[in-house]
Symmetry: C2
């Protein structure tokens, strides 16, 4: 019997009212509203009989014991970006609750089924995404870096985590939750325009694009905007603006599916009548092919060098995070495809342009994902939307895949 998604949509609307405002979802990880969202999840799982455990990294695990210890994992995340959407991350979790409920109704499953709500997928507060899943997978290569991260109010990451019961050292050490993991599934909105443009309800995700994150600090000369003649200026923001334009230019020059974004840019002292003395900014570049990023990164180096030389300013450019293209498990992808087919929905194979917790799970075992369309390709914004029919087909694809894997794991 397929799922009826109306309960899931109802849960998501309740969550939206609880943790959002007129600008969208406000469930940034390691904040009060995020804790409210986690409590909400706890209350919704309560009826399924699954038991909760919070691991050292702050991930919430809900376990439905089966005949075998071998576990099928279904994952998502409750955190959002600021002014985010009502579906990103929590569709997977609330859809997973519905799958848990449905499996529990059928009696003890052949394998153990576990729903995990990962901590801090978005990295919105500290600029470091996929915290919980990378910790669980033992894939945190930036341990020293993590200790020094600060939010825009100057709060250090370890201190913020401690306020939410997470000790960074313990988070870095432990991965016990994944001992019996058999396969990992995640339902998510596409966040791009392709499924909608092609009139399809389900994306069978084959993998995740390669991603490179860089950060740039430009040191100009802070001075008064009035009496300082143009000839002696070294304006950090003028240099930064050339970089933003140049980053856009890299995507234009290389073309294809490469996307390049400057999402974060902060000016100091940031007042009308002072020439900016310092600018920090982020560069996000993604492509299906690792080789494209290998070409794009030296182009970024050149863009930054030329922009800063032209303005006579110092800079530090750091390529601090790089994940290669992540292929999903061939058999899991095939199972997702069969389940999509069984729902009768239009579907096709697709690559994810966004990073997901599934990429860390794919590094340690079989993983796969199901996409549903995003209206206008919009996400990370209040306008994020997926229609009820598409949610139904996506949730039933997740359920069908889970039921198949539950007997073949």
């Amino acid at each position: 019997m397929p799922l009826q998604p109306s309960r899931t949509v109802g849960d998501l609307e309740q969550l939206r009212a609880l943790t959002g405002d007129e600008n969208g979802a406000q469930r940034v990880a390691w904040t009060e509203t995020w804790e409210q969202a986690r409590d909400f999840l706890r209350s919704k799982v309560a009826g399924t009989g699954a038991e909760e455990e919070v691991d050292e990294a702050g991930n919430q695990w809900f376990t439905l014991p089966g005949d075998s210890d071998r576990a099928l994992l279904i994952g998502g995340h409750m955190d959002s970006v600021p002014n985010g959407g009502w579906l990103d991350g929590c569709l997977n979790v609330m859809g997973g609750v519905e799958v848990l409920r449905r499996i529990a109704e059928e009696g003890r499953p052949p394998v153990t089924v576990r729903l995990v709500s990962w901590a801090d997928e978005e990295g919105a507060r500290f600029g470091r995404s996929l915290f919980g899943s990378s910790a669980a997978a033992g894939s945190m290569q930036d341990q020293d870096e993590l200790r020094t991260l600060r939010d825009r109010d100057g709060v250090a990451l370890p201190d913020a985590l401690r306020e939410h019961g997470v000790d960074l050292d313990e988070a870095l050490a432990a991965r016990s939750q994944l001992e019996n993991a058999g396969a990992y599934l995640e339902l998510h909105i596409e966040q791009g325009p392709f499924l909608e443009e092609e009139g399809l309800a389900v994306g069978v995700v084959e993998g995740i694009v390669a991603i490179a994150w860089s950060r740039l600090t430009i040191h100009g000369v802070q001075d008064h905007a009035g009496p300082t003649p143009m000839r002696i200026r070294h304006d950090a923001l003028v240099a930064a603006s050339s970089v933003v334009t140049g980053v856009r230019g890299i995507a234009r020059e290389i073309g294809g599916e490469l996307v390049t974004t400057v999402g974060n840019l902060t000016v100091s002292p940031n007042i009308v009548n002072a020439i900016p003395g310092k600018v920090t900014l982020s560069i996000d570049m993604r492509d299906p092919q690792d080789a494209t990023l290998d070409r794009a990164l030296p182009m970024l180096d050149r863009v930054v060098r030329e922009a800063c030389e032209r303005e006579g300013v110092r800079y530090e450019l750091e390529h601090y995070w790089r994940v290669p293209r992540t292929p999903f498990d061939r058999e899991v992808v095939a199972a997702v495809e069969r389940a999509a087919q069984a729902t009768g929905a239009g579907h096709r194979r697709i690559l994810s342009g966004a990073g997901h917790d599934a990429q860390y799970m794919a590094a340690i075992g079989p993983a796969g994902m199901v996409f549903v369309p995003s209206r206008g390709g919009r996400s990370h914004c209040e306008e994020e939307f997926t229609g009820m029919d598409d949610i139904e087909h996506g949730a039933n694809t997740l359920l069908g895949t889970a039921l198949e894997l539950a007997v073949t794991l």
Copy 2:
């Protein structure tokens, strides 16, 4: 007998230790450290016999009664930009304290002498400068605007003022302090490179350049930086960067003494993996000639229109503040020049590129200013510096002018 500036420099160094840190002065108006600076001033004036009164706009007035009610005013401001310098604004005030002290030592002066420390000259917190002097002069044309201004934490200007004992409506209504004002003098650092480049100690300020401030809000389409292909993006920061480059280009194209600056730029939601949905930024343009700004403003309109059309984003551009070139009083300028000459210091006439409280005083009566050099032309930064000799010549020029005006007013 001329002034010895060592006490003034000592006072300024004490103030720096009290209200600054390793990044510079932190005396932003309507904050706790600003109140500390005001208390410091109060304690320093105490010995002179001058009486304090705080007016409805938060300006501190220190009055030394004379034979006549007619008043000679000496002014400055204790507030700074964030990470500002140790001289901007408070050199005038602490130098003024020394002049008060010197005049008091000579017995009752022929005219009343008043030192005023204006509230919120910089406008660093709310982006609206010259608050106290424009209120005192009855020159606040932006009363409705003032009620809606907010700082970056969302605090409204009227609420912030109230915390410091100022009621905005009362501030807007009152100008009783200027009833008997005869002339106004202000000592200030040049904040530009010219005096230092020419090896001169004193600038005889003839007036203040024309200034135009605009603000721009760009509405892009916030979206996820990964799965959103370049072809459907409407990135507010890409458009804003073209504007920053274009604003620089206006100064290059018109040339001469025109200066153009984007000092404030704020991105929303400002995270690595979201395409910026909204950017607000400021444009500051200044020139000795009003006609130059009349040419520059339509060029700005065009730069903004073209940048936003190219990226397919909506915008609002507002030219919200414009002050014409302010000429200082011919006789006061001549008196400053005679006093500079008498100190034996190298001097020349100069125009101020920065706005000063003196411009509002010039609108209602005779006013003039004395400049001292700024090392490297730097100000609004920790590196702001003027040597002791130059401070001595500047302070003595202020004193000489005051003594002359005190008998001729």
